[in-house]
């Protein structure tokens, strides 16, 4: 193992432990929103993509199971674009491709595409994916079990923590005028619709703001397909 591979692995586990702290928060918030410990654990094992899981427990907690799932899927759609970028780097076939798909998330993609070579990208992807999977699931179970000991989650402010978690996930995106305008528009629309539509639907309807802003402009020809991040060895 070269020094570069060792440093990629160290970085991957650092990311895994950091993401684990989100996992603890997720487990606790899921239980605070009426999910059982088993359901919180199942979500982290099977869904394994943070923002979608937070969205599902947030919306289902307010009373809309179907719209919660729809919001979770809409948030999960970005992972399709990660797979697109990773496929040429990882060059996986058969069952490995199916495993790679489950580990295709924000963090494993970020580490993989920032590597200098394809080999380092592969090490980065698999190590980060596995590290995050282990830390995220262990922390979810710990958070869910801890919250299960508390009779009223409102007493320790867990309901306020859910909103803070959504904002923390959104925050890194608010770097351009466009994303800020979309966020502001979606906020106003969701609040305006809350009194007139059933729980969960106002959140989905707010996604229309993204569609309206993104629709105009060029649409037909594919953008340049330059391989991002890593170069050939």
């Amino acid at each position: 193992m070269t020094d570069e591979h060792r440093s990629v692995r160290t970085k991957a586990w650092g990311v895994g432990v950091t993401v684990g702290t989100y996992g603890f928060g997720f487990g606790a918030l899921a239980v605070a929103n009426g999910f059982s410990v088993a359901q919180a654990i199942a979500l982290s094992l099977l869904v394994f993509t943070g923002a979608s899981q937070f969205a599902l427990v947030g919306v289902v907690g307010a009373g809309g199971a179907a719209s919660g799932a729809a919001a979770a899927l809409a948030l999960g759609s970005r992972n399709a674009f990660y797979g697109l970028r990773l496929a040429p780097l990882l060059d996986v076939r058969g069952w490995r491709r199916l495993a790679a798909a489950q580990l295709t998330i924000d963090e494993s993609t970020a580490v993989a595409i920032s590597q200098r070579t394809h080999r380092l990208a592969r090490t980065g992807f698999w190590t980060t994916g596995i590290a995050v999977f282990i830390c995220w699931n262990a922390a979810t179970a710990a958070g869910a079990l801890a919250a299960d000991q508390i009779s009223d989650p409102k007493v320790i402010g867990l309901d306020a923590a859910v909103g803070a978690a959504f904002l923390a996930l959104l925050w890194p995106q608010l770097t351009t005028t466009t994303t800020r305008a979309v966020a502001a528009g979606a906020t106003v629309l969701a609040l305006a619709l809350t009194p007139v539509l059933p729980a969960g639907i106002p959140v989905l309807a707010a996604a229309a703001v993204a569609l309206v802003v993104a629709w105009p402009g060029p649409h037909g020809a594919p953008t340049s397909s330059a391989t991002p991040g890593a170069r050939h060895e």
């Binding site: 928060g25 394994f48 697109l84 798909a101 489950q102 320790i156 959504f166 007139v196 569609l211 953008t223």
Partner: protein
């Protein structure tokens, strides 16, 4: 099976298919500029709406309570580049303290 289990199952299957799509769907479909723009902005709109409804929603009503104070703390913490756990736990503590205070003065 309860509604929650069905929602978990549907989300799990759907999210896995989305992850796999990147490896199996032809590149040209996902690289259209319009698709890319929608994919970039949809999470922004959803997360903003989720934040607003989670903090101000109360069934079908809107209320300003301790959760809003928690969110105000979160904004400050994010501006100071605090880590995720500080943002989330801090917001919870602010809301909990406010409720404790309100209870104390009500007595």
């Amino acid at each position: 099976m309860s509604d929650i289990w069905w929602a978990i199952l549907a989300t799990a299957v759907g999210c896995y298919l989305l992850k796999a799509a990147g490896y199996f769907v032809p590149e040209a479909v996902l690289q259209r500029p319009r698709v890319t723009r929608v994919a970039l902005l949809t999470p922004v709109a959803l997360l903003a709406a989720l934040t607003a409804v989670q903090v101000l929603g109360d069934g079908q009503g809107l209320v300003l309570d301790a959760r809003a104070a928690g969110l105000a703390f979160a904004v400050g913490a994010l501006l100071l580049r605090a880590p995720f756990l500080v943002v989330v736990v801090g917001a919870a503590i602010v809301a909990a303290l406010l409720r404790l205070l309100a209870e104390g003065t009500a007595r």
